[in-house]
Structure formats: C-alpha cells, structure tokens
C-alpha cells in the first residue's frame, strides 16, 4: 500500500514540476518573443499544458472527492475558456490590422 502512495506522490510531484516548467517557459515566451502572434502562441500553448499538468498534480494529492470534482471543473473551464479567448483575441487582432512578422522582417536578422 505504501508503495502505491509513494508512486502516486512521485507522479504528482513530476506533474507539478513539469507544469511549473511549462508555466515559466510560457511566461518567458510571452516576454521575449518578437511579435504579438508568436507571443500568443507561447502563452496559449504553455498556459493550457501547464494548467493541465499542475491541476493533475494537485488532483493526485486530493483527499476528498469534492476537491477532486472542483479541480476537474477548474481544469475543464480553463481548457474551454483559454483556447476560446486566445482564438477570439487572435481574430480581433487580425481584423484590427495586426499582421505576423514573417521571415526577413524579424528583428536581429538582417535582410538577406
């Protein structure tokens, strides 16, 4: 029995660490990438994956079914709303006239 709890603990820690890494790299991407659409890519992808991993790690630690249900609800909500708002935002940006930087326009890379 204790072997199983140890395994679950190990799994949840792995998920938490992986989720934290995803969250952090998403943040770095949001700050460092050159234009709006690549920033959105970093933020959107890493947000969804990081949230999933962290909440999964927490789920393995929950000791009551109500806590588990609430975590599942939060996860479902984030997976539903986060891509939706990213999509709506990207669409609004395109309609508003923002265009992605392509190839030679990238800063730090001279015209070839």
């Amino acid at each position: 029995m204790s072997g199983l709890t140890g395994l679950i603990d190990l799994l949840s820690w792995l998920a938490l660490v992986a989720g934290s890494f995803c969250a952090l790299s998403g943040g770095v991407g949001l700050l460092r990438f050159p234009d709006f659409f690549s920033r959105m890519h970093a933020a959107g992808v890493m947000d969804t994956l990081g949230a999933g991993l962290i909440l999964f790690g927490l789920m393995l630690q929950s000791d009551h079914w109500l806590v588990l249900v609430k975590l599942l609800l939060i996860l479902k909500l984030i997976w539903l709303t986060s891509p939706t708002s990213s999509h709506a935002l990207a669409k609004a940006a395109i309609r508003g006239g923002a265009r992605p930087l392509l190839g030679d326009d990238m800063p730090g890379r001279g015209k070839r």
Binding site: L77, L80, T81, T84, H87, A88, K91
Partner: protein, 337 residues
C-alpha cells in the same frame, strides 16, 4: 514562506498602482485595474479572508471592469492633457498628508498582533458563540447577515441608491427607435467559436451563482457575490448576442421592480421580527427554535441582497449601453445634416 509571498504580492500591487497612475490610455488603465484586483484577491486569500477574496474576484476583476468599459464608450479612450497646476503646492500637500499617515501608523497595532483592540472585544464572542447562537459554520456569514444585519441592510440600500442614481442621470432620456441599432449592437457575429463556447458556459455560470448564493452558510459566498456572478453571466450574453436580445428577457420595468423587491424582502424580514416583539432583524422569532429562525432569516436576507445586486448591476450596464447607442445615432444624424 507565506511572508515571502505576501511581500512579493504587495510589491506587485505597488508596481501596478504606479503603472495605472502613469498611463494616459484609459483602456490600459482599466485593464491594469483588473490586474490590481486579481493580485489583491490573491493577497486576501493568503490572509485567509476567503469571503473578501471572493468578493474582490467577482466585483473588482469582473463586474467593475465591464462597467468601466461600458462607461468608457461614453467618455472616450484618452485622458486629456491636464492643465498646468502649481506642482510645488501639490508636493507640499502630498508630503504633509504622507507624514501624517506615517505618524498615524505608529499607533496601530503590530501586524498579526493577537492582543490588538479589534481582537479583544467582539471578535472572540463572534468566534466562540456563533455556532450555538446562529448555528451555521461560516462565521463571516453569521456576522454579515445576523449580528451585523442592520449594516448589511444599509449596504443593500446603498446599492439600490447607486442604481437609482444612474437611472436619474442617464435613464430617463426620451427613447427613440432606430433601424440600424441591430447592426451596431451585435458585432460579435463573426466569432462563431466564441458564441458556441459562451452558450455552453452561461448555464453553468448561472448554476454556480445559485450555488454561491445558497452555499454561503457553509463556505465562502453569499448574496453579494452570487448577484454579481449572475449579472456577469447575463452581461456576457448581452455582449455576445446583442444588448437588445438580452433586454427582451430582462425588461427595464422588470429589473427595476426586482431591484426594489430585494430591499423590500430584506426590510420585511426586519419588520416581521419587529412586529413579533423582538429587535429589528432579530431572526429568532421566525421559526419555533431560535437557531432554526436564524437559518430562515439569513437565507431570506441573502436572497434579498442577491436579487437587488444582480438587478442593479444589470440596470447600470443596460443604461450605459442604451446611452451609447443613442449618442451614436445623434452624432451620425448631426453629421448627415
């Protein structure tokens, strides 16, 4: 560890406040205000003030952002350049006030001091006697709705007054129907995914508002938060499918009536206990045992608060957006002439 997170969050708060005051773009400053509420709610969670964090999340980050945005449609997006004022005078006033405030902090009890005056008089009574006198697990709700029921009544009346104020200023302008209203107020029609997901989300949000309303006795929540969440769901619908569609269900007369009805429910509970020979808002007369009466009283009162808050938020939002449409049309007609 907790101390570290506290200091960290307070630092973020200061940085946000400086950014808000330095930007001239009102849109950016509204967004940063939302950020400020997010951070302060996380801070309240750390301080274990769960109910306050709940309110801050629902009111500060949610509804006030929406209301300020709809207000900004009336005012325009950029702050005009301020007139030149005497900077030295301002500096003197600010410095004097700052020094006085700093001087005032010398008299306040230390952070986390368990012998400060606020902990010594009423708080122990509330914390130890609440379970036997009121009989509900969440002490915050028992203080808010029963021990301090009169104060909460006042707050509910203040919210109603805010609604009446907005109506008195903006609501009673002569109404004119316009043909191109529909094309103006439903601009989200090309966002298909958004529309589908919102349709999926709105019923759970309304259900969650009811959960918050009736679960307030046991966990964080209550009438104020539930009313705000309910109104936010309706506003989400109005934003995506058009204000005029939402107004077909939530008609002007109906929500005005509901706003007053909430206060009426609250006041009637008070009068009922008054007429039964007890103090105003002493719920123990409402049922055969005092504890049971308290349950009934708190539930009714929270329901009154929830109805008034939701209705007033909708009144404010609808009044602002109707005003925008009207100004829009006037402007266009003036240009045509």
């Amino acid at each position: 560890m907790e101390m570290l997170v506290d200091v960290f969050l307070l630092g973020l708060l200061v940085a946000t406040a400086v950014a808000i005051s330095s930007t001239k773009d009102l849109f950016a400053s509204i967004m940063l205000t939302g950020l400020y509420s997010l951070i302060s709610a996380a801070f309240f969670v750390l301080m274990d003030a769960v109910d306050v964090a709940f309110t801050e999340a629902a009111v500060g980050a949610g509804i006030s952002t929406l209301l300020m945005l709809s207000c900004m449609k009336l005012t325009g997006q950029y702050e005009p350049k301020p007139h030149r004022h005497r900077r030295l005078l301002g500096l003197v006033v600010v410095s004097v006030t700052g020094v006085l405030l700093l001087f005032g902090t010398l008299d306040t009890p230390n952070f986390g001091d368990d012998h400060s005056p606020i902990q010594d008089h009423l708080a122990p009574h509330y914390l130890t006697k609440s379970m036997e006198e009121i009989g509900i697990p969440n002490v915050v709700t028992s203080v808010l709705a029963s021990y301090r029921g009169f104060d909460t009544f006042g707050e509910t009346v203040v919210i109603l007054t805010a609604g009446i104020g907005v109506l008195a200023l903006l609501g009673f302008s002569p109404k004119r129907q316009s043909d191109d209203l529909d094309s103006l107020v439903a601009p989200m029609h090309h966002q298909k995914i958004l529309r589908v997901v919102s349709k999926l989300l709105i019923p759970p949000i309304l259900l969650f508002a009811l959960y918050v309303q009736f679960h307030g006795d046991f966990g964080p929540g209550g009438g104020f938060q539930a009313g705000v969440i309910f109104a936010a769901a309706i506003i989400l619908y109005a934003m995506i499918f058009g204000v005029h569609v939402a107004r077909q269900v939530f008609r002007d007369g109906a929500i005005r009536l509901l706003a007053a009805l909430g206060v009426l429910i609250y006041g009637s509970v008070g009068l009922l206990s008054f007429l039964s020979g007890k103090n105003f808002l002493d719920y123990s007369v409402l049922s055969d045992t005092p504890q049971h009466g308290q349950h009934w009283g708190i539930m009714l009162v929270e329901m009154g608060v929830g109805i008034t808050v939701a209705a007033v938020m909708l009144i404010i939002f609808f009044t602002f957006s109707a005003r925008v449409d009207k100004r829009e049309r006037d402007g266009d007609e003036n240009q045509r002439q």
